[in-house]
């Protein structure tokens, strides 16, 4: 069997469901693949390992990949899962915040290397909030959620379908989506490099197919199986099945395409990417002149 090394973004959470489910069900083996799934220690790190050729495929936010690409990392997205922007500011339900205007006087935590970081100022600006009206504090990724949960901050900036289920039991939160402010930033998909695709095309193709099958299976009413698969694959992580389930449920909405609606899972579209390119250009994350096809290929979706 051909072997592939897949590295995820962070330690286990709901979005890892399809990968673990496929492994657990033996779908990789069925197509003659031997896949090693590595937990990641950060999106940035995974992207760098990909660009350095140390891993074959990564599951990360493809928006962040675009930023990396701008800085010389030769990457390309090979499949898009959560195609709608999921970045959000989350605040205590009890605070009654319903629009960005209500953020005035609030203390929000974020982490420096977060995909959110470059959008903080544009987000505030887009909503007519002046500098200093909202206190944004940068802490370590590991300190972000606990700072919010322990009420040392009013809110936190993260991905809504990741964060809301996470704090549900301790301090349930409302989410203000970044996308609602007109900023489009695509979320999870699989990423690889052109040279890697060149050399392991067939294997990567099989991996992508299996993943599409897995996600379709999960959202075909089998979320519970995905939760079990994660727990089974990561027995020592002591994950909370409620959180995993919550994240998988919450992500379903973000699997649709912002411009094409409920399109088949995995496909990426020029229109989606053009919107993202515009947002990223506006905020200076990427220079002008990029076209959607620089960032993705649907090549591997075909049989």
């Amino acid at each position: 069997p051909e072997s592939l090394l897949v590295r995820l973004d962070f330690s286990p959470w709901g979005m890892h469901g399809a990968m673990h489910l496929a492994q657990e069900k033996g779908w990789f083996t069925d197509v003659g693949l031997k896949v090693e799934i590595q937990d990641g220690t950060g999106t940035i790190n995974t992207l760098q390992l990909l660009a350095a050729g140390k891993v074959d495929v990564g599951q990360v936010s493809v928006g962040t990949m675009a930023v990396a690409k701008e800085n010389g990392l030769d990457l390309i997205s090979i499949v898009g899962f959560a195609r709608t922007g999921d970045l959000a500011v989350m605040l205590d339900e009890k605070a009654g915040v319903t629009s960005p205007k209500d953020l005035v006087g609030k203390k929000i935590v974020c982490f420096t290397a977060s995909p959110w970081a470059p959008f903080i100022q544009p987000f505030l600006q887009a909503n007519g909030l002046k500098k200093g009206e909202v206190e944004v504090v940068m802490v370590a990724p590991s300190a972000m959620v606990s700072t919010y949960a322990s009420e040392n901050a009013d809110g936190f900036m993260s991905q809504a379908p990741f964060g809301q289920p996470m704090v549900k039991k301790t301090r349930p939160a409302n989410a203000l989506l970044l996308a609602d402010s007109g900023i489009s930033f695509p979320s999870y998909g699989l990423v690889s490099t052109p040279s890697m695709i060149e050399s392991k095309k067939e294997a990567i193709k099989k991996l992508v197919q299996v993943q599409l099958r897995a996600w379709n299976y999960i959202y075909d009413g089998n979320i519970e199986e995905a939760v079990k698969a994660i727990l089974a694959q990561r027995p020592n992580a002591k994950l909370d099945p409620d959180v995993l389930r919550g994240q998988l449920i919450a992500y379903e909405a973000f699997f649709s395409s912002p411009t094409q609606g409920k399109a088949p899972i995995g496909q990426q579209f020029d229109a989606d990417w053009q919107a993202a390119i515009n947002s990223m250009e506006q905020t200076g994350l990427i220079k002008a002149g990029h076209k959607p096809s620089d960032y993705y290929t649907n090549e591997l979706l075909k049989n």
């Binding site: 937990d39 220690t41 940035i44 790190n45 760098q48 140390k54 301790t170 020592n236 994950l239 909370d240």
Partner: protein, 268 residues
């Protein structure tokens, strides 16, 4: 019986102190109502450990191995570098400053690069552990090697001692107390370096356990891992102290207990 009692005095003292501190912690947490994900009570940490003792011990072992490899490398390279620095004016003026500069770079910032260069196996972890541990060992060994009594060096020189003889038979034994101080600091830092390496490279070890537990909001497990780290740290430190006591029985620093308590009594 009485002798056994007094022989275990040291371990009793430290056990009692730890027990008292844990008690304060337990009561403090319970009374103040600090939530578990911030600071779990010790009882909870204890229980947590026994939910997966095998796994946690395996990860501890993994961390221990990496630490020992990094530390061993740090001792060897640190001592060699120190010898080079005290033996050669050129190295003193170049290598020394370069190492000082290098040490000012936080390994957390370099760890991602190591992982990229060395892959996600144990190599980058060992490298980080080594790089953090080498500096105290180097500095203390340099001090030790330089602190040799000039008249002792004269004595060696009139005996036609070659620089290497002077090094190994005079400077080096003389530097041992300092070297051991450096190793005590170094072994603790090697452990920290391993964890930092594990944070970035991932995969295994207590650093990985901490990362996963933090990611899933599982603070009690974070604390179990930290407690295991403390334990490993103390064990490694005491191991070095033990070797030191055996090798340096001639040195004043090892006879301090006698000195401190040398009270004189009429009969004994």
């Amino acid at each position: 019986m009485k002798q056994l009692w007094s022989k275990t005095e040291k371990s009793r003292l430290i056990s009692i102190t730890v027990a008292i501190l844990l008690g304060i912690w337990e009561i403090g947490v319970r009374l103040s109502g600090v939530r578990e994900f911030l600071l779990p009570p010790p009882s909870k940490i204890f229980v947590e450990f026994f939910e997966a003792p095998g796994y946690l011990l395996m990860q501890s072992l993994d961390t221990l191995q990496t630490t020992l490899a990094g530390f061993a490398l740090a001792v060897v390279l640190g001592v060699i570098a120190a010898i080079g620095i005290v033996s050669s004016r050129f190295l003193d003026r170049t290598l020394y400053s370069l190492l000082v500069a290098m040490n000012a770079v936080p390994k957390v910032a370099l760890a991602p690069l190591f992982v990229i260069w060395l892959g996600t196996g144990s190599a980058p972890k060992i490298a980080v552990a080594m790089l953090i541990a080498i500096f105290p060992i180097l500095i203390d060994t340099v001090l030790g090697l330089r602190s040799t009594d000039p008249e002792m060096l004269d004595m060696a020189r009139v005996n036609q001692a070659s620089p290497s003889k002077i090094l190994w038979k005079l400077r080096f034994p003389n530097a041992l107390p300092s070297l051991f101080a450096g190793m005590k600091v170094g072994v603790s830092f090697a452990l920290v370096g391993t964890i930092v390496g594990e944070f970035v490279a991932g995969g295994s070890g207590l650093g990985h356990v901490i990362l996963v537990a933090q990611g899933s909001f599982d603070t009690p497990t974070v604390f179990v891992a930290l407690a295991l780290l403390c334990f490993l740290g103390v064990v490694l430190f005491k191991a070095i102290e033990l070797i030191e006591a055996r090798m340096l029985s001639w040195h004043a620093s090892q006879r301090h207990h006698f000195v401190a308590t040398a009270s004189v009594s009429g009969t004994s």
